[in-house]
Symmetry: C2
Subunit: 132 residues, 2 copies
DNA sequence: AATTGGACGTAATGTCATAACGTTAGCTTG
DNA sequence: CAAGCTAACGTTATGACATTACGTCCAATT
């Protein structure tokens, strides 16, 4: 019910654009790439992104105002993910750390805080850019 | 050297505004509050914020595009902090979890990633808003 | 006095995101 | 089938967040 719904045309276009890029894109960059497919306005992209975010096929990177296709689109609705973002080349590694999630959940329950969304993002330089 | 420098007038005004608010403010909200003190343009606020961020007196909340005074301004340059942000009342709790930091550092070193800045933010509802 | 560097003031612009409106397409139900 | 409903769509305008560019001021250094 939450995912697995057939994507609409715009949603499929936006997801395709992100998958093809293999790296985070801003909504306006996505729009530019889809002009030839008939998209004209930011809202068309944002509306598609909203649905893709809901279903977990796309993630939003808060620290760089960009969106990226989920690396694990088949294990749907995985718990909150963490991201390592290379500020030099744009590469993003999505990972998930159970200990981190557990600690944040612990803090929340100890403080009577009811979490809805969690953001964990590391910016820096990836191995490739560091010249390994 | 990094902190402890005397603040300029604009920096002091911006920091004062954030401290007085006791909750996150957007740059433009800060600007509005400082019009009577002579500030006119966003850049005056952003420049002050840049310095305050550098010295660790202020933190940026990436997920809500806002800024907040550090809760522990005297333990300067504490490691990367985590934040619990109430989406109902705007309250922010700054905390620091050594285990979380350690796990993220471990991931980084295992993957040859050199971290520069880390964002950990939980959005949800605080105890007060949940009616404890 | 001349030089340098940091902070400042101002205007313009760039980037990211949503409000508000009406329309279209597919489904449900009597 | 026709009426009614809902989700997605298209378009325009606007709002919110952030930076570029350029010139000035002032205090510290030489
Ligand atoms: Zn994912
Ligand atoms: Zn890289
Ligand atoms: Zn702090
Ligand atoms: Zn609250």
């Amino acid at each position: 019910m939450t995912s697995h719904q057939k994507l609409t045309r715009n949603q499929a276009l936006v997801l395709g654009s992100l998958e093809k890029a293999g790296q985070p894109l801003s909504a306006y960059t996505i729009l530019d790439q889809l002009r030839d497919d008939g998209l004209r306005a930011p809202l068309q992209v944002y509306r598609a992104l909203d649905k893709l975010l809901e279903s977990g096929l796309v993630h939003r990177l808060e620290s760089i105002n960009a969106f990226v296709a989920c690396s694990h689109p088949h294990s749907h609705s995985h718990g909150s993910a963490a991201f390592a973002i290379c500020e030099r080349c744009g590469r993003v590694d999505e990972f998930s750390d159970a200990v981190v999630q557990k600690r944040l959940a612990s803090w929340s329950s100890e403080h009577g805080f009811k979490p809805s969304r969690t953001t964990v993002e590391i910016r820096g330089e990836c191995a490739a850019c560091l010249g390994n």
